[in-house]
């Protein structure tokens, strides 16, 4: 309830002021809608479609996001994805069990991905020395075209100067981890830091072509987090693949985990003690809601965490259909980009027509 104006304390008399605006929680939905719309704005000139190979050549930024994801689901098949999961110390039995459980669940999901290079370190095994050696070995095995993902599960601390991940023996600092990652040849890297105080690790880890997801927005959010639970769940829930391109991207997993975490606190009527953020440009602040406006999310959308389906290979005669399909996808992206400026009825009518055409082509492709 807004507080009744008072004439002031007995020491200081203040003028009452009308409280017009009670703070209201911002609708998550609105953020998502914004993201959904803004993502389309990354699309290049209407109708422009590039082949998967040209997308790899660095022109991807001119593509619509949806197309990019489709293309990378293809490129992902040609490169390996490395997953390094580290579950740190729990400190208390409850957290030991929780962290080890999440790491085990994630390991299980990852090992089900064909060709995935899965490395999981948990409990006593996850010492700095063991990890140092493992990362040294990765530098010799990982190829530049590979994707390299590190997932930290556990407690983190921040002493106002440096973030540290709590593991048996000496803790692992963000700077040390960054140093190890810098030596990994994979140009596309992802760090998912799900620990408390994770936000404090971003500045040390930040680098071009490295996406960083943190469970907290800074080092002062020190409570044990829930983000990891939902991030792990994203690998098991087909619904996390929101654009249905059969690839779970880092962006989709981030959004999934964030949304579930927010809902948890809202439902429990508890003050949220963690606010996940992400940064994928190598510069600037991490953000809660990646969008074209803040320039974040593109690299995360391109990072394929898991493929949910088989990559289709088309005969030469069907290549024309593939081109037509891409043409329609481009038109749909263009229309969506123009949504705000188009009367609703007209927008829906044109969208329906294009979607029917796209569906028909897809049907032909599958014959």
């Amino acid at each position: 309830m807004a507080i009744a104006p008072e004439m002031g304390s007995r020491m200081n008399l203040l003028n009452p002021s009308k409280q017009k605006n009670l703070s209201k929680q911002k609708s998550l939905n609105s953020k998502q809608e914004s993201l959904s719309v803004q993502m389309q704005k990354w699309g290049g000139p209407p109708g422009l479609r590039l082949t998967p190979w040209s997308a790899c050549s660095g022109l991807a930024k001119t593509l619509g996001t949806l197309t990019i994801l489709a293309l990378f689901s293809l490129t992902a098949a040609q490169a390996d994805t490395w997953y390094v999961t580290i579950a740190g110390l729990g400190g208390e039995p409850e957290y030991e069990v929780r962290f080890a459980g999440w790491a085990t669940d994630l390991d299980k999901s990852l090992r089900a991905i064909p060709g995935a290079q899965v490395n999981t370190y948990s409990g006593k095994q996850a010492t700095k020395e063991t990890l140092r050696k493992a990362f040294a070995e990765f530098t010799t095995k990982v190829k530049p075209d590979d994707n390299f993902a590190v997932i930290l599960i556990g407690h983190g601390t921040f002493d106002n100067s440096e973030y540290k991940f709590n593991i048996p023996g000496p803790d692992l600092s963000a700077t040390e981890l960054a140093g190890w990652l810098d030596k990994i040849p994979a140009t596309r890297q992802l760090v998912v830091n799900t620990t408390s105080a994770a936000g404090a690790s971003i500045s040390a880890l930040q680098k071009a072509n490295r996406t960083i997801i943190a469970a907290t927005r800074n080092g002062t959010e020190k409570n044990a987090t829930l983000f990891a639970r939902y991030f792990v769940e994203a690998f098991r829930d087909p619904g996390a693949d929101t654009d249905k391109n059969e690839t779970l991207s880092a962006l989709e997993a981030f959004k999934y985990a964030d949304q579930k975490t927010v809902k948890f606190f809202e439902t429990q009527k508890r003050l949220a003690t963690e606010h996940a953020v992400m940064e994928d440009t190598g510069k600037g602040e991490a953000v809660r809601a990646p969008s074209a406006e803040n320039g974040k999310g593109l690299a995360a959308a391109r990072f394929p965490l898991m493929s949910l389906g088989n990559v289709q290979k088309f005969s030469a005669e069907k290549q024309k259909l593939v081109e037509q399909k891409q043409e329609f996808e481009g038109q749909i992206d263009k229309l969506k980009y123009e949504k705000a400026a188009t009367p609703v009825d007209e927008y829906r009518k044109r969208l329906a027509q294009l979607l029917v055409q796209l569906a028909k082509i897809q049907e032909e492709l599958e014959k």
Partner: protein
């Protein structure tokens, strides 16, 4: 009770010299004001400001409404005379007038530290307590009178407190005592006039007297208005506030109250205008400021109307809640129309607040109300399920409760005792669905055990001025049980007869005698005997149950499941309505599951659900077990239960229920649930739209299905199942 704080300033001067707080020079000013000589009063206060005594200057500024300067001067006065309790009390009275109860109470307490027998300080504490509807108001006022039998304000306050409790006879007696102390006691006369008005008698003898003393004493009408409002006679209360303002256009307190009550009845435009005037003129009490804030927030609400309903839902949840609130409100109206054999004169306005603080603004000034919902005439305001933790609030039960008030208030023209209105509403909650309503609580058990239930003749006081913290909730329970008892013994028509008794202006005692044919004390005896049969076993064995439950919880934590099963089954019947944390049903179900006995687990969880358990995770567990067993219809019913207390933030629930109903050819239900999933901010929006399209198609609404598919594919253009269905429907 806000008007008292200011009203009490208008006291008879004849007592001031003998009884501080008001000093001689101040008394002269107050006497001018009391008699409506405003110019002289202003001149008098201005003269006080020129005094050399800090306390008198403070009084002068206070009289001129310059609170800031008065505050500074009172502080100086206290510094100069730290051992003078009178200055602190006067300072406190100014705070009270300025809506700062806490600061006022501190100063009264400080005065009592200086002199524990200082009557005006006790009176100050009585006023603070009265403003919060605390029962210690009477105690403090009596203490003040004991210390100073000439303290007319305390006597006036007692009159008012008696009327707050609906004790008109005592109120009249207390007012008469005040008049003996001061024949010009305006507030005492106003109380007597109010008693007459509440009973449709001409108050002229009192009003004429008041106006002779002060021709502009609009406050007399505003005092009366307050009592009409707390008796839920809003329309009449509004008329009286208008009279108050007519007599004294500067009576901002009455304007603010008028606005609040206009808003309660849905007259927002006039309310806002009045509140803005109050605000601009520096009348900024909590009601004014918060109600203005609330009015500002109305832009965030969506309005949905039908001939019988006018529903206001917050934009952020309107699409979801409308799915459930609209049909439930209409079902409740139809049910009550049959039961009460009447039609409402107009649509019911239902306001649902996701922010409990906004809702609380709606309930301000009403004692014991506002926990979950509140009714003003045909306007119902209530919490949204999103405003409370899941499982702690049953919105549908609350809706039926409040709507029952609309019918009872309409049928009785708002002339109904609080206990009866609440009792009927409580009765209807479980009459509609035994799983709804409140469970028999520990507070109820304790009250019965300690013989704290009130006689029916005085049950109203349990709502208005509770004497112990849980008395309001216990009174709700008791009133509900009384109506259950009458319904069971004499039938619902007898309840209608009693309701009409209030309409005939009979008192509760008269109604019991005339309609039930027995003396109220005999009714009490028979009711208690009936209640004992209902819950006596629980009351009698409560301590044993509590001790053994504790042991069972320990056994459960130790995973000694066989022992848990043995002990939990042994104590379950001692308190079957206990479904809160550590209840036997959950422990038994989990123990059975640990032993892989799913059938017994289902039995226990079914009992939990049917008795009114509202932990959605527990209910979901039951739903899942039933699904696994193949009892899909029962599983759907379990999931649907959750919708009636927390349909929010759970796309998974709506999806599951939608799938089950689609499978069972309940296509309309499936459409509702998949629509709910779409409106639950789903992570997987494309799949949610696709599911909705499937249900719409099954219900024959191809056009809607196609639209939903377009929405699905807008999010995920390559979503194959949606593409296939779109082509199928397009080809048709």
């Amino acid at each position: 009770m806000r008007f008292l704080t200011a009203a009490l300033l208008f006291l008879s001067s004849c007592n001031y010299a003998a009884t501080p707080p008001v000093r001689g020079p101040v008394a002269t000013c107050e006497d001018h004001r009391k008699h409506g000589r405003r110019e002289q009063a202003t001149a008098c206060y201005n003269k006080l400001v020129e005094s050399k005594d800090a306390a008198l200057i403070a009084e002068g500024f206070w009289g001129l409404k310059n609170y800031k300067a008065a505050n500074d001067l009172f502080r100086k006065a206290v510094d100069a005379k730290p051992k003078d309790p009178e200055i602190r009390v006067r300072w406190g009275r100014m705070y009270l007038e300025h809506f700062q109860k806490s600061d006022a109470a501190d100063l009264f307490a400080e005065a009592l530290e200086i002199n524990k027998d200082y009557a005006p300080a006790h009176l100050g504490l009585a006023l603070v307590a009265a403003d919060s509807f605390e029962s210690k108001a009477v105690q403090q006022a009596n203490e003040a009178l004991k210390l100073d039998p000439t303290l007319v304000e305390a006597q006036e306050l007692l009159a008012r407190l008696a009327l707050d409790e609906g004790n008109e006879i005592l109120a009249g007696e207390e007012a008469a005592r005040a008049e003996k102390l001061d024949p010009e006691s305006l507030d005492a006369l106003a109380i007597e006039a109010t008693v007459f008005m509440l009973n449709d008698r001409d108050p002229a003898q009192f009003i004429d007297k008041i106006l002779k003393i002060n021709p502009t004493y609009g406050k007399a009408w505003s005092i009366a208005a307050h009592f009409f409002v707390i008796n839920r006679r809003y329309e009449e209360g509004i008329k009286l506030y208008r009279k108050a303002i007519e007599l004294d256009p500067d009576l901002l307190e009455a304007k603010s109250e008028l606005a609040v009550n206009l808003m309660r009845l849905g007259h927002d435009v006039e309310a806002k205008k009045l509140l803005e005037e109050c605000y601009e003129r520096e009348y900024k009490n909590a009601a004014t400021v918060n109600t203005l804030t609330l009015l500002d927030s109305y832009k965030n609400f969506e309005k949905y109307t039908t001939p019988a309903t006018d529903i206001r839902l917050h934009k952020k949840e309107s699409a979801l809640l409308l799915l459930y609130f609209q049909p439930e409100l209409e079902r409740a109206i139809a049910t009550y129309e049959k039961k009460y054999k009447m039609k409402l004169p107009g649509p019911v306005r239902l306001e649902v607040y996701p922010d409990h603080d906004d809702f609380a603004v709606r309930t301000m000034g009403l004692p014991g109300l506002g926990a979950l919902g509140v009714t003003f005439g045909s306007v119902v305001a209530m919490d949204s399920p999103s405003g409370r933790k899941p499982g702690t609030f049953h919105w549908a039960s609350t809706l039926w409760h409040e709507l029952d008030h609309v019918f009872v208030l309409t049928a009785t023209h708002h002339r109904v005792d609080r206990w009866f209105a609440e009792g009927m509403a409580m009765h209807e909650e479980t009459a509609n669905n035994p799983e709804w309503g409140d469970r028999f609580s520990v507070e109820g058990i304790t009250a019965i055990r300690d013989k704290k239930l009130l006689p029916i003749a005085t049950l109203n006081s349990g709502f208005v001025r509770p004497k112990y913290p849980a008395q309001v909730s216990v009174s709700y329970f008791q009133a509900g049980k009384i109506c259950d008892y009458i319904n069971e013994r004499w039938g619902f028509d007898k309840l209608l007869e009693m309701m009409n008794g209030f309409n005939e202006k009979l008192t509760t005692e008269q109604i019991v005698e005339k309609k039930l044919g027995m003396k109220p004390e005999d009714f009490d005896k028979e009711f208690l005997a009936w209640l004992d049969k209902q819950v006596g076993k629980t009351v009698k064995n409560f301590e044993e149950w509590r001790g053994k439950l504790k042991q069972t919880v320990t056994l459960f934590k130790e995973k000694k499941y066989d022992e848990v099963i043995k002990q939990a089954l042994a104590i379950q019947d001692l308190y079957p309505e206990y479904v809160e944390a550590g209840n036997t049903y959950e422990m038994l179900a989990d123990s059975y599951l640990a032993k892989n006995d799913k059938e017994s687990a289902i039995t226990e969880l079914n009992k939990y659900a049917k008795i009114g358990g509202r932990d959605r995770e527990v209910l979901k567990k039951l739903g899942k077990l039933l699904e696994e067993k193949g009892n899909k219809k029962e599983a759907a019913a379990v999931y649907d239960r959750i919708n009636y207390f927390y349909p929010m933030q759970d796309e998974d629930l709506h999806r599951k229920l939608g799938e089950l109903w689609l499978e069972q050819n309940n296509n309309a239900g499936a459409v509702r649930e998949f629509t709910a999933a779409v409106n639950s901010k789903p992570v997987d929006a494309a799949a949610s739209w696709y599911n909705l399209a499937r249900a719409q198609r099954a219900s024959g609404n191809t056009a809607a299905a196609k639209e939903s598919l377009v929405s699905a594919l807008e999010t995920a253009p390559g979503f194959r199942p949606a593409q296939k269905l779109l082509l199928e429907l397009t080809d048709k």
